[in-house]
Every structure is written in C-alpha cells, then in structure tokens.
C-alpha cells in the first residue's frame, strides 16, 4: 500500500505540537517557571491558533531562497560602487543611526525570542517564538552585511557594537529592549510583537525602507524586501498573542491593558528618533513625521484598538499627547541632536532653504514662528564661524533615556519635566507617559544607568567632559562627530561626485 502523504495542516501538527509532551519526572511548573508569575491565566494552551503554519524544513527552504537573492544584489551593489548612487552623503546619517541603534536591537530581539521560545508551556507559541528568534538573528546579520560596504567609505560605522553599550543616544533603543527582555515572556511578546511590530512597525519600516529606496540606497532597500515576509509573520504573532491572552481569562484584561499603555508610550518615544531621521536626515523626503503619525497611528492604529474594544481594551493612555506633539517632536529632537553633535557618531546640519520650505508646507504656522527662526539663528552662528555645540551634559529621562527636551503638551514654549521619587532618591521624567511607567515599577527603573550621571560618577572611562566621553565611545572628533559641512564625509563625497561625473561617458562626450 502506498504511503499516505500528510496534508499541510497534519504535517504542521506532527512537526510542532506532535513533538510536545507533558513532563512526568518533573512538574510542568518547574520545567516552565516563567509563564505564570506575570499573572496571566491560560486555561487552555490548545486554543492557541497557530498564526502561520510553517514547519522548520519549509522555513529553512524559504529563508535560504531569500538569502541567495539578497546576497546577489548586495554583491552587485558593491561591485558597481553603489555608494556613489545615493542622493547625498547626508543620507549616511540615517544609515548610521540604523546601524548603531536598530541593528543591535535585532540581535537583542533574537535573544528575547529565544527566551520566550523556551518559556511558554504551549508548543504553538514556543515554535512561533523560536522561528522569530532565528529571523531576528538573520536580520541583524543581513543588515550588517548590507551596511558594511558603506563602512569602507564613510566614518562613524567602525565600532557600533562598542558604542551600543556606551553612547548616550544609543541608550534610548538599548533601554527599550532591555526593559522588554527583562520582563516575563508574556510582557516581552506583547511589547515587541504587538506594540512595536504590529501597532508601530509601519512607522519604523516605512521611513527607513522607503527612505532608502527614495535615496538610491539599493543595499538597504533590498534588505527591507527580504525582511518583509518575516515582518508580516511577526505581526501576526503579535496580534495572536494579545487576542489569546484576552480570550483565555478576563483577569488578563487589566494586565494586558497596562502593558499596552506602557509599550505604546515607550514605542512612541523611541520612534521620535526615527521621525527625526525621516524629517531631517533623508535628503529626499518620503513623507513627514506628522503625516506618517496621522496615517499609521491616528487612522490604522486607533481602528485596531477599537477592534480590541470588544475584549474591554481601551486606547493606550497618553496617545492624545503624541497627537499634540506631532507638530514639534522632530524639530525639538533635531535641534537637540544638532547641539550635542560632539558626542554623536553621525553628522548633523541645518537644513537648506528648500528643506525649510518643505517644513513650512508640512508643519505650517508653528514651524514658521518657532522652529524656523531657531534654525536660522543657528545657521547665522555657523556662518559667522561659531557653529553651536552644547558641551554641557543634559538632564535625561529616567525611563525612555531621551534628553529632556520635550515641551508641555499644551505649551510648546515650556519644557516638560516631571519629578518622581523612590526610596529617598529623586529622578526626572520627560512626560506623564514616562512618569506613569516609572511609578508602576519604580524598583526596576531606579536601576537604570543614565549616561550623564555615569560620566559624573566617573564611570565612563574617567571622562570628565564631552570630548573625553566621545573618545571613550571610540569616536574621533570632527571625523565621526560634529557638523556635516566640511566633514571628511562631506569632502570625500564632493570629490567622488566630481570624479564620477568626469569619468562618465555622457559628460566626456
């Protein structure tokens, strides 16, 4: 009798849940110690609906096919000097912030999902997390390979892993992920898979990948396409895990709501860096932060939360503050990065007139009355040879670790600072959103290593000022750091463009 071939569904069941068993030598609670202490009640793990029925053999097959295509294009990009075809060398600041800030997160996500993939006692959830763990490792590797070509020609990319553990602005993404993966597995998956990858992911990928395409960066664009099918799998997992928790027990609802409040706000704060990248670092603009926020959060994100209303979930706290900040967030953040440029591993500059007009068109009156004169004043200083750097360390938010530059939700002329206190020590937060997060788990956030405090305590290689601190990050002054205009990156770019044009047959004819 001919062997019966298993259908896709049966094959998936046999290769995932079919390999699982109830332990008998040791109690299940001791084998899986992490999936109950957060308070999430799971009545029936079998009710987990596998969001994508992918077996390991099929996974290897798909991924290796994608890999072959990706590396063929990366090779062609390198052999054809693809770095000369980008819009402008200022674009490299966007690549640098991705490499320094986001790529290390992919690696940490790999670790976080490996942990979650061990911690859940339900086999369906475990398998989904294990595959995502491998995806994330692959994303870290492929990003590094895509960017490595730029490292041969531009500064600031030589020591990203070292910088990741030391640099003040990289403690923003770092602390985000460390907060997530030091939580239990359910909170980790809610924070990364749902809040970040499902709700906010378009705000990360759209600016970077479309931004790369608009600016002629074929390497990053190709990586983006290669990661896209993985990302849709990750989003499905995010939605599934949240619905699963909400359907399993009504006691889970307030716990999940508190996590959504927290991770919406943390995700939004982290995206401030991305918004600033899209508004200021992309020489050719895709859309502005305000428009992206309106489409991806105010339309799509809010509709999603309304769908979750049937489980008793409401919109995340303080989402309306983000709506008020959308007019000013990126302008406030750019002038912050600009002035702390002596300790940044990327270049900053004042936008040109064409860009200022684009801001006026997109942001209207507030930009024209407040931020444009501020930028023009800084340009005036630069033209007098007095390019402004703020070399005094700033106050930093104890939760999101962003320097406290945000203004009051209803008053863009007044800085927003919130004081919190725990066991006799005061701390500062940038917003009511971060203050709420601190007060919910103060024992966690008092442990945060805040970079300026670290410097003043003498724990940053003995650095006593911003220049010694930058050296401790392995940044060379005015080569890796500082103003774009006149930097080695800028000078090289002008020279390469001149030679490239001279060498092209069109010009020669």
């Amino acid at each position: 009798m001919a062997k019966k071939k298993l259908g896709l569904k049966e094959r998936y069941a046999a290769l995932t849940r079919g390999l699982d068993w109830e332990t008998t030598y040791e109690p299940m609670d001791e084998v899986f110690p992490y999936d109950r202490y957060e308070g999430i009640k799971i009545v029936d793990w079998d009710a987990w609906a596998d969001p994508f029925r992918l077996t390991m053999d099929a996974y290897w097959k798909y991924q290796s096919e994608k890999e072959r295509k990706l590396y063929a294009i990366l090779d062609a990009f390198q052999q054809n000097n693809g770095q000369l075809n980008i819009s402008d060398a200022r674009y490299l600041s966007a690549v640098k912030i991705w490499l320094q800030g986001i790529t290390p997160l992919e690696y940490v996500a790999h670790r976080g999902f490996a942990h979650a993939g061990r911690a859940f006692r339900g086999a369906g959830a475990r398998v989904a997390c294990q595959m995502q763990s491998i995806d994330e490792l692959r994303h870290a590797q492929t990003q590094l390979h895509a960017f490595s070509h730029y490292n041969k020609y531009f500064n600031g990319m030589h020591n990203f892993a070292h910088m990741r553990d030391r640099a003040w602005y990289l403690s923003i993404p770092k602390s985000f992920f460390e907060d997530a993966y030091s939580a239990g597995p359910f909170e980790f998956v809610t924070s990364i898979s749902f809040a970040f990858e499902y709700v906010l992911t378009n705000l990360l990928f759209m600016p970077f990948v479309s931004g790369a395409a608009y600016n002629g960066d074929m390497a990053t664009t190709t990586f983006g396409f290669s990661a896209q099918s993985d990302e849709s799998r990750h989003m499905t997992l995010g939605l599934e895990v949240v619905k699963f928790m909400l359907e399993q027990h009504e006691d889970n609802v307030p716990i999940v709501q508190a996590w959504l409040d927290k991770w919406f706000w943390r995700g939004y704060r982290l995206l401030g860096l991305v918004g600033t990248m899209m508004d200021y670092m992309l020489p050719k603009k895709v859309m502005c932060w305000k428009e992206a926020w309106e489409i991806y959060w105010e339309e799509n994100g809010i509709a999603l939360f309304h769908d979750l209303g049937r489980y008793g979930i409401r919109l995340p706290k303080h989402h309306e503050v983000a709506g008020k900040e959308k007019h000013r967030l990126t302008h406030e953040m750019w002038t912050t990065l600009y002035q702390f440029g002596n300790a940044l591993g990327l270049h900053t500059w004042i936008p040109n007139d064409e860009e200022l007009d684009w801001f006026s068109e997109k942001y209207g009156e507030l930009f024209d009355t407040m931020y444009k004169p501020r930028l023009l004043y800084l340009r005036e200083l630069e033209e007098k040879g007095e390019r402004y750097f703020n070399n005094r360390l700033p106050m930093v938010c104890q939760v999101c670790q962003i320097p406290v530059f945000f203004t009051e939700p209803d008053d863009p002329q007044t800085q927003c600072v919130r004081i919190v206190e725990h066991s006799g020590t005061k701390h500062h937060c940038c917003s009511d959103g971060c203050k709420d997060i601190f007060e919910r788990e103060p024992e966690k956030y008092v442990q945060a290593l805040i970079p300026p405090q670290q410097v003043y305590r003498g724990e940053a290689g003995g650095a006593t000022n911003i220049f010694e601190y930058a050296a401790w990050l392995h940044l060379e002054r005015d080569v890796d750091t500082g103003e774009y205009r006149g930097s080695p990156d800028h000078q090289h770019w002008l020279e390469w463009q001149r030679r490239h044009k001279a060498a092209s047959p069109d010009e020669a004819a």
Binding site: T335, Q339, Y377, T414, H428, Y456, R457
Partner: protein, 120 residues
C-alpha cells in the same frame, strides 16, 4: 504598583544615589523660555560651592551662546526649586540654599524672554 517577580524580594538601590559622588552633588538647572538650549543642564559640584559662583563660573559660560546671557542679572530672576517657588541667596552655598543631590533649579528672567518672542 510594583514589579511582578519570581522569588523573594525585588529591591535594588538607586543607581544614582548620592553616595556615588564622593561628597559632591549632581543637580540640574534650566533657564526657562530659552529653548535654544534644548535641555536642562546637569552639573556635578561640591555642596559648599557658593551659588553665585556656580552661576557665574559654570552656568554663564555654558549659556553664552544665547544673546540674552550677557545681560542676565541673577539677582532679578524668579527662581523655583523642584518646581516650587524659591528664594536663593546668591552669596550662600548650594547646601545652605537647600540645593541637594538631584535637585532641579529653574529660573525666569523677566525682560529677557528669549529670541523671536517665542522663548527660543
């Protein structure tokens, strides 16, 4: 609320407690309505430092970029400490004025309201 945790006790000392500063203090100052300087500034100083000396020797050079800075008369400013009204004595030390570790000093300078009429 507190952290959900496994095992007994989840409590750690603050990473930034005063003992880490060898007798000095870490505190913050902000000049309101002068957003050209993006954030409140952080300082480490001995608590015996005279407040007026701190303002002239450390604060003023750091804020010299702002055209209002040269005309700034600290005696005419309106002060707050930890967001409460406060009347410091410029001739006394930080300690005697009540400036402690992680304290937050803010001031307004009536008449010097930042650039462009919008607090820049």
């Amino acid at each position: 609320m507190s952290v959900a945790h496994l095992g007994p006790g989840y409590d750690f000392p603050s990473a930034n407690r005063a003992e880490g500063y060898g007798g000095d203090i870490n505190f913050y100052i902000q000049w309101e309505q002068h957003l050209l300087i993006a954030c409140p500034s952080a300082y480490r100083a001995p608590p015996d430092m005279i407040f007026g000396d701190f303002l002239e020797q450390l604060f003023r050079p750091d804020y010299a970029v702002h055209p209002d800075c040269a005309q700034l008369d600290f005696g005419q400013c309106e002060w707050r400490y930890d967001q409460q009204p406060w009347q410091p004595d410029l001739g006394k030390s930080l300690r005697d004025n009540g400036v402690a570790h992680m304290g937050f000093v803010q001031f307004r300078s009536p008449g010097l309201d930042g650039l462009h009429g919008v607090g820049n």
